[in-house]
């Protein structure tokens, strides 16, 4: 029996909810229905395995893993914002240039004008929000297509970054600022060769996720809502939790969990909460699904679009700061090509180009896929031109899957 294509002619008399639950308990059927979600997790594991093999074990070395996280944190941070923009039915091509521009701004403020890093950071984040507000208002109120506005933005901020830096690289940053990107969480229990705090933290998070998942499952079962077969749930939780602990262990073997990872984790939790449990988050999904209907529900769609872009601007600014802190300089070339990584991450993670569909965890997994690819290709010494081409191919594959799914339904 097909799922969504041709629904039963009349669910009115016999649309029995328990019947639906009974049906979905079939393992194969459930897998088929949620292939996308499991597929992403499998893809991540597969790509990690592939590069682990190709680099002869270098990928998973604690040092490399730490670098991987540090070098690609910008993708995760911006993917969180881009997901909301894509769900709202738009796109933002300017994020790379904004990243570079804010990095340049931070450098000028902190290095040339000697500002303290706290006000400088705040000003930069504010600036990012302002940029998002300007672009967002053109999209929301003047109804100019987002890809035009942000394409223009991409060029404007590229030029402004160049102007701000007067074509040079500016640095180094004050050491306190560098901690953002290159610092690690303090270790409370010292054990030889292992930052125990980090490991314990990782284990704690894994446990919390498992418990949370269990509670959610119990809740759904109580209400008779369709839910995944028990075996699959256990498998997924164990695999995910296991990966988390292993990951923490690897990081703990080097210098522990980086600060930026904590920042990322907090943001992920925040955005997952916002998109699944808050009114503002669900309103964005409604708007992406059917703007007219959303308007009729009293949802202020223009304002929501504006908020999505402001959010994107702030996150792009944060990513720019993280990136600049990592390199310890601001260069005119910063931010080049970031938007592709971020957009690809969202699509790999299951966002739909037409809006209304996409999960935060999916975008995060997609971002990690891009990160692993970046890192793996660098280790293998693949030239940047080839990297561009390969990334294009990966985006192509991700979108093909999206199109295939849409055509199937």
């Amino acid at each position: 029996m097909s799922q969504t294509t041709h629904p039963p002619a009349s669910t009115l008399a016999d649309g029995n909810p328990t019947a639906a639950v009974r049906h979905d308990k079939s393992l194969l059927h459930h897998l088929q229905h949620n292939l996308r979600e499991y597929g992403m997790l499998i893809t991540l594991v597969a790509i990690m395995g592939f590069f682990q093999y190709m680099t002869e074990g270098t990928l998973m070395q604690p040092l490399n893993l730490t670098n991987l996280v540090l070098q690609n944190s910008y993708i995760v941070i911006m993917a969180l914002g881009m997901l909301l923009v894509i769900v709202a039915g738009h796109i933002d091509l300017s994020v790379g240039s904004v990243c570079g521009f804010i990095g340049a701004l931070a450098a000028v403020l902190m290095v040339e004008y000697n500002w303290h890093f706290v006000p400088a950071t705040l000003v930069c984040l504010l600036c990012g929000g302002l940029i998002g507000a300007i672009q967002g208002s053109f999209v929301a109120f003047s109804r100019i297509p987002s890809f035009i506005v942000t394409l223009a933005g991409m060029l404007v901020f590229k030029g402004l970054a160049l102007a701000l830096l007067a074509g040079q690289s500016v640095g180094p940053f004050p050491s306190a600022f560098q901690m953002l990107s290159s610092g690690f969480i303090p270790d409370l229990f010292s054990v030889e060769g292992l930052r125990l705090t980090s490991l314990l933290l990782g284990a704690a998070v894994a446990a919390a996720l498992a418990v949370g998942g269990l509670r959610q499952r119990a809740n759904r079962l109580r209400h008779g809502v369709q839910t995944e077969p028990a075996g699959l749930f256990v498998a997924r939780t164990v695999v995910f939790g296991g990966l988390l602990v292993y990951f923490s262990y690897l990081l703990a073997s080097y210098k522990g969990l980086p600060n930026v990872l904590i920042v990322m984790a907090l943001l992920i939790v925040l955005f997952d909460f916002v998109t699944s449990r808050t009114t503002i988050g669900r309103r964005i999904y409604a708007m992406g699904g059917n703007e007219k209907a959303a308007k009729l529900s009293g949802i202020k769609t223009e304002r929501l679009t504006l908020y999505a872009f402001i959010n994107m601007g702030v996150l792009a600014a944060l990513a720019g700061l993280v990136f600049a802190a990592r390199l310890n300089t601001a260069t005119p070339k910063a931010g080049l090509g970031f938007e592709l990584d971020v957009i690809a991450a969202c699509f790999i993670g299951g966002a739909s180009a037409s809006g209304g569909v996409g999960k935060v965890m999916g975008a995060v997994i997609g971002a990690f896929v891009m990160g692993v690819m970046n890192n793996g290709m660098s280790i293998l010494g693949i030239g940047i031109d080839y990297q561009q081409v390969i990334k294009g191919v990966v985006l192509l594959a991700a979108v093909l899957v999206d199109v295939y799914n849409k055509n199937k339904a």
């Binding site: 109804r143 890809f147 060029l155 180009a353 031109d385 080839y386 294009g392 192509l396 093909l400």
Partner: protein, 348 residues
Amino acid sequence: MSERSPSLLVALLRHRLAWPLITLALLLIVNTVFNSSFLHIEWRDGHLYGSLIDILNRAAPLVLVSLGMTLVIATRGIDISVGAMVAIAAAVAAWLIGGSVSGTESRFPLPVAILGAIGVALLCGLWNGVLVAKVGMQPIIATLILMVAGRGIAQLITDGQIITIYYTPYFFMGGGYLAGLPFSLFVVAVVFAVLYLAITRTALGLFIQAVGINPTAARVAGVQAGRLIVAAYVFCGVCAGIAGLLISSNVKSADGNNAGQLLELDAILAVTLGGTALTGGRFSLVGSVIGALIIQTLTYAIYSLGVPPEINLVVKAVVVFIVMLLQSPEFRAQVGALARRPGAGALQ
């Protein structure tokens, strides 16, 4: 009941090309104000010479790409990879000609180089068209792929270098003169003529508009939308290829990274300035030509004002943005609402 027939001025203003022409005229005036010799044309070195001629020559690649972009936009699509295609075409031509410094040697004959470049660009357009029409991807995403991968491809062809071209016959395309006018103008004229004839003397215009306005209804009526859409992207690719030849011929080099930078935005803006809606459907070739001229004249104005190159991008984007805003009905409504006095309600 009889209506007073609208005055001629009002009728003229309602014409689709009115605003683009007015904008162009204003820009020409601005340029003349800042540069008194702007409109001056003289005959020198066996050809016409002057700022206007310069603008026309430099505008040629943009006009070409805008023509291709018009068709794509009319089918409800968009192609942001035109810059990359320009770079690829230039790279292919440069590679086929080779870097021999003699100026008279070419690895392959010139016609082969030209056809090769255009052929590769055609394939790129075909790639885009297939992704959009046969696979069903959204155009912005499909062409985003080539936009990024394409620059990488261009760099691979040129081995990461900027290839300088020394072969003198090659320079004629972008820098030569025929009957006193830049040769590039003739190239543009030929392409425009071909396109115009195709649109008006065949069913192409009708079909493209039908597909852009209502693709489902067009399909039921027997129109082969898939082929049309692919054809539009292929044509866009060919235009980008020819533009690539003109550009690299003008600057005597092929730069995989920088050739065709900004071109996609310029082309999209030219098309919208010329009156074609981004939502597809009805389009205007002449409008796109005027739009391209507007962009070029604007660039010229910015340069002659002495604005540093970094700010150039910003100023241009801002100015064009303002014009687009003025054309946007929503914006006009908002401004109108602000201007209207409160209390002038419609009901008693």
